[in-house]
Symmetry: C2
Subunit: 195 residues, 2 copies
């Protein structure tokens, strides 16, 4: 069975986004990540930067976000509103044509479709730390701390909106350790299993 839609969830620094882009290129599928954020921004009227910041963050996810708890749109908490918009856009994109969608709980949003392959990409902390320093450079914060903060946010956001545990194998058809198979290796596996 050919999988029309591939969702790729990933630990920060695992190379999941790079893998997703290469899979889309190889299969000739549309690729949605930053583009998706732009579409959401257009739909909601919020700025792109604003959505980037809050699109993967559940209400109460950090002390900082509490400051925005009072902000509502159509009677909903701001993040819930963004979530609803994201959900609608992802459902529309899935209807439109073959695509690879990165993150944004797309695996959950599209869980009832039979034509999806849901993938999770992860790697040990040590390998991910090396990768983010190589790609994004050093910062004042230790790479391990940056990774854990980012993963924590994604995990809390995923649980808040899906009531499922992020990274639990049972939520995905396929989970891959990118440090074991390499970026190209993961791409080949996903492309092969999408056919």
């Amino acid at each position: 069975m050919s999988r029309r839609i591939i969702t790729i969830s990933r630990e920060f620094g695992s190379g999941g986004r790079t893998i997703a882009k290469l899979v889309a290129d190889k299969l000739g599928y549309e690729y949605y990540d930053k583009d998706l954020i732009e579409k959401i921004a257009e739909g909601t009227g919020f700025s792109k930067g604003f959505i980037e910041r809050y699109g993967e963050q559940a209400p109460g996810n950090s002390l900082f976000s509490y400051a925005f708890l009072g902000r509502t749109v159509n009677g909903m908490a701001m993040q819930d509103y963004i979530w609803m918009e994201q959900r609608k856009i992802i459902l529309d994109l899935a209807e439109k044509g073959n695509c690879v969608i990165v993150g944004r709980c797309a695996d959950y949003i599209l869980k009832d479709r039979g034509d999806c392959l849901h993938v999770f990409v992860h790697a040990p902390l040590k390998d991910r730390a090396e990768r983010i320093v190589r790609l994004y450079g050093e910062t004042s914060e230790k790479p391990e701390k940056r990774l854990m903060d980012k993963d924590k946010k994604r995990s809390v956001n995923y649980r808040y909106y899906t009531d499922r545990e992020w990274g639990l194998s049972q939520n995905y058809h396929l989970c891959l350790d990118s440090s074991e198979f390499g970026i190209e290796g993961c791409v080949d596996i996903i492309v092969e299993l999408s056919k």
Copy 2:
């Protein structure tokens, strides 16, 4: 890199054991499951049936097991003693030659070796329920209940001895939904990735 040792952990009814046997056959690797239990039984002096019953059960895992809490071997709780024996046997088998090992926390016990492929096989409850009824027949207990009881025991045992969460993708190199790829499909993926 060729993987000399493949560990396969599995949800009950997912076909993980069948997959493991077929992988071992295809690769010409030794296969350890019931045989492993027999070896453990020989080593400890306990009967094979006894080990089968307690080998994947942590102390306090069920009301029934409390009855055995007082039973010790060399100053250890009985299940802890069996765990230690299992651990030694698995480490020995890994040294001996190419093999596929099913369950028994082998993924954790062999986690520091670089020549292993650690796999987790799962499937949705509905598919597993159909499979166990087809293979083992009906019992007075609903198949869903049998599955959940068995998974619960494995999960509690795994957490007790490894301090990790059973089925969390990060503990394995590869996780597969056997209902998505089929038994033969899973075998082919694992064999291909072992080379």
